[in-house]
């Protein structure tokens, strides 16, 4: 199964572009890059149909619901969209989830009997904190690799981080991703690197702090490796070689990424 492109309809490309911003909460990676989205279609009534798949039949229903709901919200914000119908396939709760979403119900009400204790917002926040830590680690690692001292790293503020010349495309991408999430966490000040609670990082405990970030990354990467492998094994489609596909060009995602790394993302991090 490969991403299905219906036509040269520019609206399809717009949908792909908004889906690219939706992430798997656990992996902090885009649902389109993970190749979870297989199909985007716009019908005559301006309704958007999204085909969506996951690495296993068992993938946690709360994550599946969360992603599908985020896709619905992201695509609904396009002005011409009248309705978004997400079609989760090959999952043990496909029917339940698709139906719940189509009726605009919450996860709690969709799984009323089984999900009484579940608060999807808490879950979303937990994973968002991990995403913050993981993105932060990538930037700190880059600076350490370029022989920045701990003190220099901790003294850095957002505007200077945003305008810093970075000689590595992936590091530049991570910087953009970090600055974006920095607005949600890290407190009201301009200090580039703080804990997820917005506290300053104590330089004397910097090694331990880095080791915490590292453990968060190891867990996330475990999931990422496993999910990609399982998805590939399940659908027997070849691993992406890193080259953009036709769908990427149609969605304008290739150009977007280049533009992002050139400008270095936004320059402030006040909420």
């Amino acid at each position: 199964m490969t991403p299905h492109v219906t036509s040269g309809d520019p609206r399809v490309a717009e949908v792909w572009a908004s889906l690219a911003a939706v992430t798997d909460p656990e992996l902090d990676e885009s649902v389109t890059e993970l190749r979870f989205v297989t199909e985007v279609d716009v019908d005559a009534e301006d309704r958007v149909h999204i085909g969506f798949r996951l690495p296993t039949y068992w993938c946690a229903a709360n994550f599946a619901f969360l992603m599908a709901d985020d896709m619905r919200v992201a695509v609904s914000s396009l002005p011409w969209v009248r309705q978004v119908l997400v079609d989760l396939r090959d999952h043990m709760y496909s029917d339940t989830i698709n139906e719940g979403l189509a009726q605009g119900r919450s996860f709690k009400s969709t799984f009323s009997d089984e999900a009484v204790d579940e608060d999807l917002d808490d879950l979303r926040r937990t994973f968002r904190i991990k995403a913050f830590q993981r993105r932060q680690e990538a930037v700190i690692r880059y600076l350490l690799d370029r022989d920045w001292s701990v003190q220099a790293i901790l003294d850095l503020d957002c505007p200077h981080l945003a305008t810093l010349a970075i000689d590595d495309a992936e590091a530049a991408r991570q910087r953009g991703r970090y600055l974006e999430i920095r607005r949600e966490f890290g407190g009201p000040g301009d200090t580039a690197f703080t804990t997820a609670q917005g506290e300053p990082i104590d330089p004397r405990n910097f090694a331990e702090y880095l080791s915490l970030l590292r453990r968060v990354r190891i867990n996330t990467e475990f999931n990422g490796h496993l999910c990609r492998g399982l998805l590939q094994a399940r659908y027997d489609d070849p691993a992406p070689d890193g080259e953009p596909t036709l769908a990427d060009f149609i969605a304008g995602r290739v150009a977007t990424q280049v533009a992002k790394s050139n400008t270095g993302g936004n320059d402030g991090c006040r909420k």
């Binding site: 068992w58 709360n62 999931n223 496993l226 399982l230 094994a233």
Partner: protein, 352 residues
Amino acid sequence: MFKTAEGEEIFIIDGHTHLWDGSKENQKNVHGAQFIDCFYGYHTALSPKEYVWPKEKFDKYGAETMYNDLFVEGYDDMAIFQPTYLKDFYVNGFNTTEQNAVLKEKHPDRFILNGAWDPRDGEAGIEALHELVEKYKIKGVKLYTAEWKGASKGWKLTDEWAQRYMAECVKLGVKNIHVHKGPTILPLNRDAFDVADIDDAATSFPELNFIVEHCGLPRLDDFCWIAVQEPNVYGGLAVALPFIHSRPDYFNQVISELLFWLGPDRLLYGSDYAIWSPKWMVEKFMAHELPDTIKKDKGVDLNLDAKRKILGLNAAKLYDIDVPAHKARLSGTAPAHAGEQTMAQVAEVLGD
């Protein structure tokens, strides 16, 4: 048996093996089909290509294939059976103690037979545990906290009945509690593979050893915290180990965390057969070296001493295996039972 280039024999106990039947004939429902399909996904995603089986063989490979892969082709000296019943998914269960016992009986020196229990079985389950101990003299159990049972989709070690079962294990000398704490496949809201309940159990039952299978991955940080606090907590490397082939850098990071927090005395090798074959895994593990940067960074090393412990000596300690005596028995240079003599000894006496 694995021999190093210097001729040293490394005694290997595979801490995590199964003899399963995931065939269509045994599948009760779509969940049974999806369960074995998911395992096959792990198998194809993380095995070297030449070790990938056709799906049909993977569904039901049988006892002979298992024996061959572990002990003839593979380097295992002994293997621990970890049953996974899944009776809601499979007509005769997926992998039960009784089925494993047949192979153990045939090769008593090769296998360590573990049982299982489920606190949702209440009083009847306690009786069944007594029977298992009486019949098979088991010293360990495998617990699968995400197993479905009717309306229930899982349980925790902190549940009242689970505490009663563990108290019973102390009484019966079933001292090794292997708990599956790995990648989530549990549907819905409750994460039954969360490692948090290990903390409570390990504190409440210091007489028991808790072997956290799959090291709690992807909750490695939680697992490390708990293991540092609780000296009776061990890490089973199944699922972490196969990354040594497809993602060696990633494996280095995981193993260095584990060596740093738990040390080489509390880690156990496990192939998770038949998801992965012990042959390539042991070869790669023995050949593997941590990069200098990690050694320096974390102050850990995966040296021969650590490998010996992880591959067999740690498990031997937990299961009271006298390694030199067992080695001699396996090689036929010692009698299998007390009071008997080997053919060689008899021949010597007879001067033949």
